[in-house]
């Protein structure tokens, strides 16, 4: 895991979707429509280019993905 210099979860982090695990439920797009977008044809979630979230919110999205497909892109 990468560092969290602020320690309060406000540091912005990028996210990754494992497209092999995603089953297209759409919880992520519902919760963060500016960050996640389901494909119009395949309903697989992808991260919008350049989008990020505060670490605390990112962890919540990781937790609430039923497929376990979302993770934080730590360097």
């Amino acid at each position: 895991m990468g560092g969290d210099p602020t320690g309060d979860g406000s540091e912005r982090v990028a996210m990754v979707v494992d497209e092999d695990r995603c089953i297209g439920i759409g919880q992520c797009e519902l919760l963060e429509p500016d960050v996640f977008r389901l494909g119009d044809e395949d309903a697989i979630s992808r991260v919008v280019d350049g989008a990020d979230l505060p670490r605390a919110r990112a962890l919540e999205l990781v937790d609430r993905c039923p497929s376990g497909a979302i993770s934080i892109a730590d360097a």
Binding site: I23, I25, G26, P66
Partner: protein
């Protein structure tokens, strides 16, 4: 507490279907939640030996749901009784699959049920809800199940599938027979609806599944000849591209969508309406602040716990809540228990339309089997509440509900409600 062959004996019976004629045994679930670790519950013709681990705490249901590699949906059965291998194979659907089969099957239908797609159906659902509510009020009340809660979700799922609305009553009739299969057994003779398949090979051991298979085949032929924009066409096109759906997968999908798309949402609407009739102060709160409707929807769903349990089977030796579990053991997640766990909900026995923190597991505990129709169900319940609010409909208790003897669906076959 006496030890059984596996672990501490359950302090309460939560599996006998007839218990549910009096409603969910909440005191029994509370007693089980309070035992350290897991309890072993007798079940079936071998009593203690064919029993199951009863998982009733919110955190434990979550752990089972989120560990599909350890707690399999594809072994044994997802209901309490085991199926022989050929029966399991004949009726296998999305519900009874693990990855990678589950992933492949789920992706065939996922696009039709995302939050974004669901919004496309909202106007249609609202029109249906408005008409049913207006008729209910014009009649001065009556059987809420037959007049509102059953027709609304079946009409919506049939429209999505592309099945003619005039067959809605027939579909409700068939799925009602399926629910019987989770209780004391079907009341139908084995050859009902022209069935010739051994019933042990049919979903819910019911000849009504044969009728749904026949209907699925009729729809297949109709849409092969004349494709539409509907989900049956979508299933068939997924089948047609070579490797996705087999004939058995298609008909089991059709059967599952008709069943799950109406019995569950119906059940939520029944318990929701009963709760609102019994708690007029909560309805008045919603009338005073309609912005609470989104929270009210989830509280209705938590309160209802339409599906009481789902079973998993341990694929290897493991441990849960400090209790060792052997490969092959049945592990049963009782959503009905998790949804009243005081560790997860403040004042869990209070029906609170404004409940802020409501992580209920009525759609499952959060793993890959998360309810496919969760967003559709929420939308349907929301438009129903909104159409009632728009007409200032106030429900009041009428007769006691006629409940089902099922430990699987928290079903009510009829309940009279009055319009105050």
């Amino acid at each position: 507490m006496a030890d059984t062959t596996k672990g501490p004996a359950s302090p309460a019976d939560i599996a006998s279907p007839t218990i549910y004629l009096d409603g969910i045994p909440h005191e029994g679930f509370a007693a089980i939640r309070e035992v350290d670790g897991l309890v072993w519950h007798p079940y079936g013709d071998q009593g203690d030996r064919s029993g199951f681990w009863a998982v009733t705490r919110h955190a434990d249901v979550r752990e089972v749901s989120k560990s599909p590699d350890v707690f399999s949906s594809a072994i044994g059965h997802t209901n309490l009784w085991d199926l022989e291998a050929d029966a399991l194979e004949a009726r296998r659907s999305l519900i009874d699959s693990d990855a990678p089969d589950h992933t492949r099957l789920r992706r065939v239908v996922s696009k039709a049920f995302t939050p974004r797609t669901t919004r496309n159906w909202e106007g249609m659902a609202r029109d249906i809800a408005a008409e049913l509510v207006e008729d209910f009020v014009a009649d001065g009340g009556g059987d809420w199940v037959g007049k509102v809660a059953a027709p609304l979700p079946i009409k919506v799922i049939l429209a999505i599938l592309g099945v003619p609305t005039e067959d809605a009553d027939y579909m409700v009739e068939l799925t009602n027979y399926l629910v019987e299969g989770t209780g004391e057994g079907t009341s139908l003779p084995d050859d009902a609806y022209g069935n010739t398949t051994p019933t042990r090979l049919l979903p819910f051991n019911s000849p009504a599944s044969h009728a749904l298979y026949e209907y699925a085949e009729k729809m297949r032929q109709l849409r092969m000849a004349e494709p539409g924009e509907d989900l049956v066409t979508g299933l068939l096109e997924a089948e047609a591209d070579g490797e996705r759906l087999t004939a058995a997968e298609y008909r089991n999908f059709f059967q599952l969508l008709v069943f799950a798309g109406n019995e569950t949402t119906r059940t939520a609407m029944i318990h929701g309406a009963m709760a609102l009739a019994e708690h007029p102060d909560e309805w008045a709160r919603l009338q005073a602040d309609p912005s609470l409707v989104v929270r009210a929807v989830d509280e209705v769903i938590r309160w209802a716990s339409p599906i009481l349990h789902m079973r998993r089977t341990a694929s290897r030796d493991t441990e849960l809540a400090g209790t060792p579990i052997a490969a092959g053991d049945k592990v049963v997640m009782w959503y009905a228990g998790a949804n009243r766990d005081p560790e997860a909900f403040d004042d869990p026995y209070r029906f609170d339309v404004g409940r802020e923190d409501n992580p209920h597991y009525a759609f499952g505990g959060g793993g890959p089997h998360f309810c496919l129709g969760a967003f559709l169900a929420r939308m349907e319940i929301q438009v129903l509440l909104e159409e009632m609010l728009a007409r200032d409909v106030v429900l009041a208790p009428g007769s006691a509900p006629e409940r089902l003897a099922s430990n699987f669906v928290h079903g009510v076959s009829s309940v009279e409600l009055a319009v105050a």
